[in-house]
Symmetry: C2
Subunit: 493 residues, 2 copies
């Protein structure tokens, strides 16, 4: 046990260094002055280099090898396995490459903000060229080392042990189902979704207050976390210091609210991770698909359905006045309006998977080398037209809308849709195992829901692989039919 403990201490140090990176990253998105980006890129790149050196050192290799000889319990064994997995991932890439990639993504992210604002794809491409080149290099080095495809090598960093073959299966099933289903839903809503639109002006302060009411009821711990504002909603920080953001549109309080409840789903997962392993990989979240399943369960399964809407309707009236459009029935229709739209983060839950599938196909081709940067806009627009029937008129509403590629997060997108599928499965099981769940929700009592998530998902950290975690919690594997049935029942009945 002696070496294992030394190993854990070593890993804890890298955890704290990474957690510094998380705070810097929050800072960059929320408070950093605009001319400080170049310095921030240097800071991040040096930090990345340090962490990379520590996580690929021969000292770590020796500790891992020696710890393997020791008598460990199951959790310790899993932790050791995860440490080694991460060690292999890190060691595959040279420190120079990791640091160069960090600097390139920092600068590309800055350029992207400007380029998106100015609808300037060629300017973005100048910076993205380097990011993609390095990302491909990383993917190919890892692929060779791990005996996987280059894309799967990247995927593994976001959704551990996931193979694109599973994603292909899920996505091709969805592609068979969704386009026609979207048609049907839109037709159905022409008759059944007559609602009063929002026309007022909703102050940022009151929108924030509404969000805080939800966060408090869901159990977010404000002594160990924050709510702020940023260009894109995100959940950042560390499990001891969880920082979520949203953005406010004074004409539409639902957008900020949905941002907040989504990120609160991530945040409470973070806050409930097992404290005793917090600095170890076994105490971290079980990858981004499980993470998105938690945020999407809260946003879509909980907050876009009647029991919650019945409850929040009263609070909306408290904030913005007792108006007709804030009635639960109207809100439910408003929130669940399905439409063909350009922006992923504003998309409804029916069309959302299409946005993801388009990105998934494009990013796979980028990594395989079959798609060049200058061909991205056309590939994007063609796919939008083919699967969603609309064609973006500019880059900003098209392939320039997301931060993921500039920040070097190729392999992340599938997590959203796999997460949405799993969310429907989790919620399906919770409804069966919690007495009167939806009555409780309607009364603003979310304890049983979050306790179930805490006990079955959050507290488990990375003790189990994502698919095993799902299986243990709901008694079965990923199942697209539950998701499809949920959509059919909700949108066509």
């Amino acid at each position: 046990m002696h070496t294992y403990n030394k190993l854990c201490k070593y890993i804890a140090e890298t955890y704290y260094l990474s957690s510094i990176g998380s705070i810097l990253s929050w800072d960059s998105s929320v408070v950093m002055p605009k001319k400080s980006g170049v310095e921030r890129a240097e800071q991040t790149s040096i930090l990345t280099e340090l962490i990379h050196n520590k996580l690929s050192s021969s000292e770590l290799g020796d500790l891992i090898a020696a710890a393997k000889e020791e008598d460990l319990n199951q959790i310790e064994k899993t932790n050791l396995e995860l440490i080694e997995k991460n060690y292999n991932h890190t060691k595959a890439i040279s420190t120079e490459l990791a640091s160069e990639f960090s600097r390139a993504t920092s600068l590309c992210e800055l350029a992207w903000r400007q380029a998106r604002h100015e609808n300037n794809f060629p300017e973005f491409a100048k910076y993205f060229d380097k990011v993609l080149k390095l990302q491909r290099e990383i993917a190919h080095i890892k692929a060779e080392k791990f005996g996987t495809s280059p894309y799967d090598a990247l995927l593994d960093s976001y959704d551990p042990y996931r193979k694109s073959s599973t994603i292909d299966q899920v996505f091709s099933n969805l592609l068979q189902f969704l386009p026609q289903f979207i048609d049907e839903v839109i037709e159905h809503q022409k008759v059944h979704n007559n609602h009063i639109a929002l026309t007022g002006s909703y102050s940022k302060d009151k929108q924030k207050q509404l969000g805080i009411i939800c966060m408090e009821h869901f159990g977010f711990n404000f002594d160990a976390g924050r709510l702020d504002e940023s260009m894109h909603p995100f959940c950042g920080g560390t499990p001891s210091d969880v920082r979520i953001t949203t953005r406010y549109d004074e004409k539409d309080f639902i957008s900020s609210l949905m941002g907040i409840v989504h990120e609160t789903g991530h945040a409470i997962y973070q806050q409930n991770l097992p404290k005793e392993y917090i600095t170890q990989p076994v105490g971290a979240a079980a990858g981004m698909t499980i993470h998105e399943s938690q945020s999407l369960l809260i946003e879509k399964q909980l907050c876009k359905n009647r029991p919650f809407i019945n409850w929040i309707s009263k609070h909306i009236k408290d904030q913005f006045g007792n108006k007709q459009e804030f009635g639960a029935d109207n809100l439910h229709k408003l929130i669940n309006k399905v439409s063909r739209s350009f922006i992923r983060v504003d998309a409804d839950e029916v069309t959302y998977p299409i946005h993801i599938i388009i990105r998934y196909n494009i990013e796979k081709s980028m990594i395989d080398g079959n798609l060049q940067i200058n061909d991205i806009p056309q590939a994007w627009n063609d796919a939008m037209e083919k699967y969603l029937g609309i064609r973006p008129k500019n880059y900003s509403d098209g392939c320039l809308q997301d931060i993921h590629w500039p920040m070097g997060a190729i392999g992340y997108f599938p997590s959203y849709t796999l997460g949405a599928v799993m969310a429907s499965q989790f919620y399906h099981t919770i409804k069966q195992s919690v007495d009167n769940l939806e009555d409780k929700i309607e009364q603003g009592n979310f304890k049983d829901l979050f306790n179930w998530l805490k006990d079955n998902v959050h507290c488990k950290g990375s003790i189990y692989k994502p698919d095993t975690l799902l299986e243990n919690a709901i008694g079965g594997p990923i199942d697209i039919e539950i998701f499809k049935n949920y959509l059919k029942q909700k949108y066509l009945q």
Copy 2:
């Protein structure tokens, strides 16, 4: 030159690591949730350890030795000398001690916030005990190594090359002058300082707006800096990302304004440091005495005197209405009211040095080992009574008021008063060398003032030792008489 360039690159890396620490420190004081302090202490301590290792490595020692053999220009020589000075300071202390000190001060700072709030000295003492023990250890190790007194060894980190013998001289001169002078001023003001007190309520937003107007007129670059709120005003961040704070009292807009202009003095010094050397010690500010001279010049010499008050009076009326009490004459009296008070940061410029001298004497005794922690409150209160004629009724208004000791910054306090003295000398010279300076100030034109400071102080970085910088700029050494004459002319005429 080959090795010198390698050396600069090496030092630049430590600069970026330290700059990460600056951002974390800002974060701790401005946005960090209260339960994240323990994690932050770990982060800071690991970062400190890394920086300490890099700044005391034999690799650095070898680079320094080799660079000394190269043909360098004067600035490069000075930079090399400063690098070596810092190397010697760092190498004197083991990494374990540096890291332990960092962790102890982080935790003590947290405990202090609570203890000050609860007026609980014994609780504070529990944490400060460790800080002081380690601070003494550090001081004694350095003293032996550098052949100075332990206190001078600490002083050197804040005001390079300063000896306490100089401070003793200045402070004993002030102690002969001030107590009686304060009596006289208070008597004089009984007759000549009849003013209307502030009675209104002044919204935080408008106070902030007023502060921003000053910052903009002074030339603060908001694209490379921020203004926020914290328990104590400070100037943090990095020269590329200068972050100042203030605190708002809704009953007193002058307090937040003076906080802002003081910190803006620091901030503009940072923003004007020589860009080409920004990652090198020769490009850093010339120590905290020069730094305080810049903030105090702005706060006291500029903003507490008539020309500025004539200008700001109009802006105050714009924000808060055209009331009698916002007339320049009344404001001038209000801002320059001298009184015996407990809190240093709220003290007027006449009594302020007394607050500093008391702290200086106590911290010297703490380091020499002549004063134990439990005896601090009595030593403090006795000195306040002796020199200022008032005795604090509780710890929070007494020895618990300042963050410096809990954060391990023993040796910093004298900089405030040496800085105030130098500020009066700089301003005295500027008045002589800028045509119609005070007419320009009255018209809101601060360009000549800040250009003089930029050319003579800010742009010089650490090319000169603090006293040489002063001498070059004003043609003479530190001179207490100019300060005393300033006070006499202002407060007794």
